[in-house]
């Protein structure tokens, strides 16, 4: 009971950060919106699937990419809490020790919902649509949120390993950027050199993006590579695998603070 209640109080704390620092939201959304504008309109005409349909192709990729960059905020917040001694205070209180991580992941999912709402409105404004109706669209959003949950755990692990909060924000971009570039977000992996293409095909980001394109009824790449043909399966399996690896690692780091 207290575990749930403490986790919920902690969720409220992280959401209050969002409310108290609205400028961060603006900065946060500037990136995906810029990607939609730059890639959708400037480069879009030169892409394999041109014009309007490129924007339809691009949007699910931007949805997923935004979740990936959310990892930075998670890692920074955790690292900040540890370095400032706030975590020590929590640990010296009769608060459930799970509260920090439960609270952060719940707050992250709430944030992700909000971000998805904003991005979907943006998408509709530039001509993107979900063509297969409400149910499949919800399923697509569900898969994207599942990936976010997995990335939250990666972020919490990262934040508990890297001591300096400033370092965290510096290393997240070089970590996240190749993951989006080497994926099917912007271009078809088939157009890359074979080995890069293979990495892109197997990239967890590509799996969720391909599955979302299919569920939204947006143009896909029609690739016949195994990962592309089994995107739906991988879009579930990859996040579960990431959670299975990083959740125990993050919890272990937290426990080892007592050593």
């Amino acid at each position: 009971m207290t575990t749930l209640a403490d986790g919920w109080v902690m969720t409220g704390r992280y959401l209050r950060h969002v409310i108290r620092e609205p400028e961060q939201i603006v900065i946060y959304f500037s990136l995906p919106v810029m990607f939609v504008l730059v890639f959708g309109y400037v480069f879009g005409s030169g892409m394999a699937v041109g014009g309007d349909s490129y924007r339809e192709f691009l949007l699910p990729g931007v949805f997923v990419m935004t979740q990936l960059y959310g990892l930075g905020a998670t890692a920074t917040a955790i690292s900040l809490d540890i370095s400032r001694g706030v975590v020590d205070r929590f640990r010296s209180m009769p608060t459930a020790r799970s509260a920090l991580m439960v609270g952060r992941s719940t707050a992250d999912l709430t944030r992700a919902l909000l971000e998805m709402a904003v991005l979907i409105v943006c998408g509709l404004l530039v001509g993107w649509q979900a063509h297969r109706g409400f149910g499949p669209a919800l399923a697509a959003i569900g898969l994207i949120l599942l990936l976010r949950l997995a990335l939250t755990w990666v972020g919490m692990f990262l934040g508990s390993v890297v001591k300096n909060p400033d370092t965290v924000s510096v290393i997240v971009f070089p970590l996240a950027f190749p993951l989006t570039a080497l994926s099917n977000v912007f271009v078809a992996p088939e157009q890359m050199p074979a080995w890069l293409g293979a990495i892109s095909q197997w990239n967890p980001i590509s799996a969720t993006v391909a599955a979302a394109r299919e569920l939204f009824g947006n143009p896909g790449l029609g690739s016949d590579a195994w990962p592309a043909e089994h995107a739906m399966l991988l879009a579930v399996a990859w996040p579960l695998l990431l959670i299975a690896v990083f959740a125990p690692l993050a919890i272990r780091r937290y426990r080892r603070m007592s050593r």
């Binding site: 207290t2 209640a5 403490d6 109080v9 902690m10 409220g12 704390r13 209050r16 950060h17 108290r20 620092e21 400032r84 001694g85 706030v86 020590d88 205070r89 929590f90 640990r91 010296s92 209180m93 009769p94 608060t95 509260a99 603070m257 007592s258 050593r259």
Partner: protein, 314 residues
């Protein structure tokens, strides 16, 4: 006689093969302030973190506020509070939001947490700044907020890890006043400090920590006494009369008198402070020796520390 608030016995803690605590023992009576004094790396913070259930230990036994630290850490956490070396508050939240958050995490209801936050803001003169982000607070205000957060549930034992490091003298006095009030209300305080005068001011008893164990223990006066007697110190006006003055003082105190021609100073150990002072003044005047300064002083804790550990503090 109530049972002690803190008992530690033979605590050992090893980091990567190096002993941070090596047979650390401590007893703190309920309602008193114990100062842990020692240089950086002596093991003070490690000891506090172990007693506050933040850190496991390898051997030994510890009991805080009547609960066993190793077996009943949850019970210990109900009864203690910790203020660490940094102001452990959430800079993105306001002062009020911080206190409500910590109140809720102490399992107070929403309304009770709000009411307690208001009380504490008032008590720590933070009401005016209550709705500003804690990150905009001055160092002293952050430290006050941090202390307020520690007092949400009126802890039986309060751990203060270098509570005034980096504070200006005024904020430092405010923290000291708060600690005195808490102790008057029956709270037991264990504080670490590198400032000898802080321990001298606040602590009922001091434990001097060096290389992971307590090397000396006692009241501030007792510690100073172990270092040796009070000293009569005289500065003569004319360096040429030093030898005469030494002869006079030797007769008065009946002990060897040290002289320092550079500072024209004489030093001699004394047992009875007042008599020694009067007799010395009378004898020096009788011998016609002009004196610039005359006094009896007690060794400082700095000197005590140097003698006990073989090296200076901090």
């Amino acid at each position: 006689m109530t049972s002690p608030a803190i008992v530690a016995d033979g605590l050992r803690k090893t980091y990567r093969g190096k002993a941070a605590l090596d047979g650390f023992g401590l007893t703190v009576a309920t309602g008193t302030v114990c100062g842990l004094l020692g240089p950086n790396g002596a093991g003070k913070t490690t000891a506090v973190r172990i007693l506050a259930t933040l850190l496991d230990f390898d051997a030994g036994r510890a009991e805080v506020a009547g609960a066993d630290v190793a077996r009943e850490p949850g019970l210990v956490r109900e009864r203690i509070a910790l203020t660490g070396q940094y102001a452990a508050v959430d800079g993105s939240l306001t002062g009020r939001q911080n206190l409500v958050l910590f109140g809720r995490l102490h399992h107070l209801g929403r309304r009770a947490a709000r009411a307690r936050a208001d009380e504490l803001l008032d008590q720590f003169t933070l009401t005016e700044a209550a709705d500003r982000s804690a990150s905009e607070y001055s160092g002293g205000m952050q430290r006050r907020l941090d202390l307020a957060a520690s007092l949400i549930r009126a802890p039986r034992v309060l751990f203060l890890d270098e509570p005034t490091t980096g504070l200006d003298p005024r904020s430092r006095n405010q923290v000291w006043d708060t600690v005195r009030k808490l102790v008057a209300d029956g709270t037991t305080v264990l504080m670490t400090t590198q400032y000898l005068d802080e321990a001298d001011q606040l602590a009922d008893r001091i434990s001097v920590v060096d290389t992971g164990r307590v090397v000396a223990e006692g009241t501030p006066d007792e510690l100073k006494a172990t270092i040796g007697a009070d000293r009569l110190e005289v500065v003569v006006r004319d360096a040429g009369r030093l030898a005469d003055a030494a002869a006079v003082l030797t007769r008065v105190v009946g002990a060897e008198v040290g002289t320092d021609p550079d500072t024209r100073q004489l030093r001699a150990p004394v047992t009875d402070r007042v008599t020694a002072l009067i007799e010395a003044a009378r004898a020096l005047r009788g011998a016609g020796i002009a004196v610039d300064d005359l006094g009896v002083r007690r060794p400082t804790l700095d000197e005590a520390f140097l003698q006990l550990t073989g090296h200076g503090a901090a």
